[in-house]
Subunit: 499 residues, 2 copies
C-alpha cells in the first residue's frame, strides 16, 4: 500500500520517488504501466499536487518513468536490449517464391485456440466493437432502403470526403474525387501495382518487407529487388540510388510511416528526398500508409504523397489496421494514375461494401474514430513495452529487438542457430502462432528472425506464451550451435522438420 510519513524528516517528494522506484523494482509496476495521475496520487497520499509533480520529474530525470503528451506518466522500458540490425542486401532482382511458406503460415493464422502472436491486427488491442456497431445501427435505421444496392464504383462520396479531410488535418490537400475506395489496403496495393507495372517488371522493396506485398508481386509475375533498410530511418537512399543506376526499376513499394515489420518511421526530410529522387527519374512510389494513424506519439508523419510534384506517388490507406479488418475498406490515392486505377477497380471487383463505407463515414463523422485512435495508441505503446520487457526476461541475451515507433509488431533477431521456421512449427505445437522471418524477404534472408504482434489486449496468457516461446528459442539456439548434422547421403537426418 502506498503511504508516506509526514513526520519522517525526508522531503515528501523523495518518499514518493522511493515508493514508486520500489514498486518498479519489485515488479508491481512494469514497463509501460501508467502511473496514477498527479491529482489522483495527491489525493491518495494526502499530499499536494506540486509535491507529486516534483517526484515524477525526479523519476523522469532518473530515466525510470516518462511523460507522454495528454496521456500522463508511464514506467519506462529498460532499453537494455540490443537493437535489431539493418540488413546489408545486395543482389539481383529475383522472382519471389514465398507463397508456399505463406500457405503454411495462413493455415494457422486464423486457427482459433492459438495465441495469435503471428497476426498484425493492432485495432484488437482496444476493440471499437460497441461504438462501431452503434454507428452501423444508426446507418441501418437511417438508410435502410438503399443499403442492399451497389455502392458507387469508386466509393461513397461522403467517405471519400472524410478521408480527404483527414489529410487536410495533416497539412496536405487531397481532392475527394482522387480518393478511390477499395476492398481493404491489399486491394489498394493490387490496383497501385497493376496501374504502374506489369509482369516481368522489377519492383524495389524494403528489406525486410511486408509479405503481403511480396506475395502480390509474386502473383503478378513481377520481380522484387531488396533495398538496404535501416531499422531506425527506413530505406537507405544511397542504396536505392545505386540500385536505380544498376537496374531498370519500374516502381518502388515502401512503407510510408510505420514500416512492417521494422516499426520505424523515416523523417519528413528523408521522405521528401525519396520523392525527389524517384520523381526525377519518373519512377512511381507506392507508399503503404496503413499504419500512419498508429504512430505512438500521435504525431502523424506526412505521407510522401504531400511531397509529390508529378503525381508519381500512390498512397495506400486502410481502416483495417486501426479499427476493422473484417470490413475490408481501404483506399488508394493514385496520383496521376487515377484513370487507370479506377478502371482496374471496376474490372476486378466492381465496388466495395456499402454498409461498411457508410458505417465508417458515420464513425469518423461522430468523432468516435479519433477518440478510438487516441485510446488505441497508448495501449499499443504499452503493449510494445510490456512485450519488450518479457523478451528481455525470457529470451536469450543475444536476441536483438526493434524499437517500434508505432503499429503492432516487434522484429526480433534471434541467436544465429535458430531457424524461425522450425520455431514456427514448434510454437504451433504448444499453441502459439508467430511469423517466421524468411516470409519478409524474396531471397532467403532472415532465417533467424521473427515478427511478434503485440496488437492484443495484454494478458497473462501472452506473458506465459512469451515465456514458453523464450524456452523454445533457447533450446533451438543450443541445438543450432551443435556441430552440423551428418550429411544426408550418410543416411541420417538429425532434423527431419527442416529436411
Amino acid at each position: 500500500m502506498l503511504t508516506v510519513d509526514k513526520t519522517d524528516g525526508t522531503f515528501l517528494y523523495e518518499q514518493v520517488v522511493h515508493l514508486i522506484a520500489g514498486q518498479v523494482e519489485n515488479g508491481a509496476l512494469r514497463p509501460g504501466d501508467r502511473l496514477p495521475s498527479l491529482r489522483g496520487l495527491s489525493r491518495r497520499l494526502d499530499i499536494s499536487v506540486p509535491t507529486v509533480r516534483q517526484a515524477y520529474l525526479e523519476l523522469e530525470r532518473q530515466g525510470r518513468i516518462e511523460a507522454r503528451p495528454k496521456s500522463g506518466y508511464f514506467v519506462q522500458a529498460s532499453r537494455q536490449n540490443r537493437l535489431v540490425r539493418g540488413a546489408r542486401v545486395s543482389g539481383k532482382p529475383s522472382t519471389v517464391k514465398r507463397q508456399a511458406l505463406i500457405d503454411r503460415v495462413y493455415d494457422h493464422i486464423h486457427q482459433t485456440g492459438l495465441l495469435p502472436l503471428g497476426i498484425a491486427n493492432p485495432g484488437m488491442a482496444h476493440p471499437a466493437t460497441r461504438t462501431l456497431h452503434r454507428a452501423m445501427k444508426r446507418v441501418m435505421a437511417r438508410t435502410e432502403s438503399r443499403l442492399l444496392g451497389y455502392a458507387p464504383a469508386y466509393g461513397d462520396p461522403g467517405l471519400c470526403r472524410q478521408i480527404a479531410y483527414r489529410y487536410l488535418n495533416q497539412g496536405g490537400s487531397v481532392d475527394p474525387a482522387e480518393v478511390l475506395i477499395t476492398n481493404g489496403g491489399q486491394e489498394a496495393l493490387t490496383l497501385a501495382l497493376q496501374s504502374v507495372a506489369r509482369s516481368g517488371d522489377v519492383i524495389a522493396v524494403e528489406s525486410p518487407a511486408y509479405y503481403g506485398g511480396l506475395e502480390l508481386i509474386e502473383s503478378l509475375g513481377m520481380l522484387a529487388l531488396e533495398i538496404d533498410t535501416c531499422p531506425v530511418n527506413g530505406v537507405s537512399l544511397s542504396a536505392l540510388s545505386k540500385a536505380l543506376e544498376e537496374h531498370d526499376i519500374r516502381a518502388c513499394l515502401f512503407s510510408a510511416a510505420v514500416s512492417n515489420p521494422l516499426g520505424c518511421v523515416s523523417s519528413d526530410e528523408g521522405r521528401r528526398n525519396l520523392v525527389q529522387l524517384l520523381e526525377s527519374r519518373d519512377v512511381p512510389l507506392i507508399e503503404d500508409d496503413v499504419y500512419g494513424d498508429l504512430v505512438f506519439s500521435g504525431e502523424r508523419p506526412r505521407p510522401a504523397q504531400f511531397y509529390a510534384q508529378r503525381g508519381q506517388v500512390l498512397t495506400v490507406g486502410s481502416f483495417s489496421k486501426t479499427v476493422a479488418p473484417g470490413y475490408r475498406i481501404g483506399w488508394l490515392l493514385p496520383g496521376r494514375h487515377l484513370g487507370r486505377a479506377r478502371k482496374l477497380k471496376r474490372a476486378i471487383s466492381c465496388s466495395s461494401g456499402l454498409l461498411q463505407q457508410l458505417t465508417l463515414r458515420e464513425f469518423i463523422n461522430s468523432g468516435d474514430y479519433d477518440r478510438h485512435l487516441n485510446r488505441l495508441r497508448p495501449k499499443l505503446q504499452h503493449n510494445a513495452e510490456r512485450m519488450i520487457a518479457c523478451i528481455e526476461q525470457y529470451f536469450p541475451a543475444e536476441t536483438a529487438i526493434s524499437r517500434p515507433c508505432g503499429g503492432s509488431v516487434l522484429w526480433l533477431e534471434l541467436p544465429g542457430g535458430v531457424d524461425s521456421e522450425v520455431l514456427f512449427d514448434r510454437a504451433i505445437d504448444i499453441g502459439i502462432s508467430i511469423t517466421p522471418g524468411r516470409i519478409f524477404s524474396p531471397a532467403d534472408r532472415y532465417r533467424n528472425y521473427m515478427r511478434l504482434s503485440f496488437g492484443h489486449p495484454w494478458s497473462e496468457a501472452i506473458e506465459s506464451g512469451l515465456e514458453a516461446l523464450g524456452r523454445l528459442v533457447r533450446e533451438l539456439a543450443v541445438s543450432g550451435r551443435t556441430p552440423a548434422p551428418v550429411p544426408a547421403r550418410h543416411g541420417q537426418n538429425l532434423n527431419p522438420r527442416v529436411s
Copy 2:
C-alpha cells in the same frame, strides 16, 4: 365488377372465360398480372372451384393465360413481337477497347434521380432489406466480439458449407473446402481468369457478352474472341468447335444458366456437350452462374461444373444478383485450379467482409433466402412481361425483343438507323439510364441494340419512362433513315452529339 348470371343459359365457365378475356382486352388485366386463385374467384363469383378451373384451363388453351408451378395463373404476354436475332460473328481475337464507353455508362449508373433501366440489379425487384437486416442484427448480437477481425482468407467455413449444400440440392457434389468466397462475382471472375490465363492470351466469349467480363479481359491485357450465340440456346457449339481449330483459345468465359444480356438458358445436354468439347482439348471453362437462382421456372439448370471430369470448369456464383450487391459476397468453385485461385485471393484482397458472410449464412440457414427467391422469381417474370408489353406498345414495330428465361434484363434490337449510344445520351437528358449495345461486344457490334433492366418494383414511372424511350427510338429511327448528313468538311454537322 366481376359477376356471372346463373340464369343466362350459357355455361358458367364460358361466362368466366368471357369475363377474364374482356378484362385482358380492356387492359384491366395486363400481361404478367396474376389471376385470382381458384378458391378466391369461386368465392367472389359464388360458383364452384371446378367451374373456375375449367374456365382457366380454357383460357390457357386459348393462350391468354398460363399456369406457373406453385404460383397460380398469370396473364400471358402477347408474344407477337419479333424475337431478337442471334449474331453471326466471325473474325479474329481482338483487344477489347470498351473502357471509355463503360466509363460513360458508369458515370450515370449510380446517378440518383435517373430511372435506372441501365443497371442489372434483380434483387431490387423485391428487396429483402428487412429480413436481411434482422439476420444481421442476430449475428451482431451473437458474435459481436469477433466481428471486427479478419474473416478466414478463403471464406467463412459455415457459409462455404451452405453454398456446397445448395449445389447438393441441385444434384451436384461440391466439397465446402473447394468453395472460395470472394468480393462479389466480379472478383471471382478476376481470380478465375488470372488462374488460367495471362496477358496476351485469347479468351472466347459469347456474342453479346457481359461487359464486366470484357472490361476485365481488357484490364488484364488479354484478347477476346466472340463466338456465335443463339438468343435461345446460347453459345453455338459448332462455331466454338471451329474457333478452337483456328485459334489458340486459352479459356472460355460463358454464362452458365441465364445469359446476360440475352436471358437465355442453354439445355443440360448442351452444357454437357460443351464441357466434353472443352475438356477433350484441356481448355478451361469459366462459367458465370450469378443468375442461376433466378430462372423464372424455379428449375435451376445444372451448372457445367457438374459435368466436369477433369476439373477444368471454374464456376462463378454471387449473392449480388439475388439479394445484396452492396455486400460484395460471391464465390468461385475453381475446380483443379483451387491452389492457384486461393493464393491469388490472398494476394489481391486478403479476405472478404466478415459480417456480410455471417449474415448471408444466417439468412440462408433460416430459410429466408429460399423464401426470398420464391417471391423474387415471379416478380421478375411479371416485370419482364410488363416491360415486353410496354415495348410492343410504345416502340417501333421493327423492334425485336429477347425472351428471357430468368434474370432481370431484356435485349432489344432497334431499327437499323438507331445508334443506341446517341439514344443513351438523349435518354440521360430526359432522366432515364439504359445500357447501349456496343458495350457488350469487343468489336463494334450491336450499335442498334440495347439492354433494359426490369429488376425494379414495377411502377407508373417505369411505364411512362418506356413510353418516352419509345418516342426517342422512333425519332432516332426516322432521323437515321434520312440521307447521311453533309460531310463535316462542308462546315456543317447535323448531329453534333455523335461528332
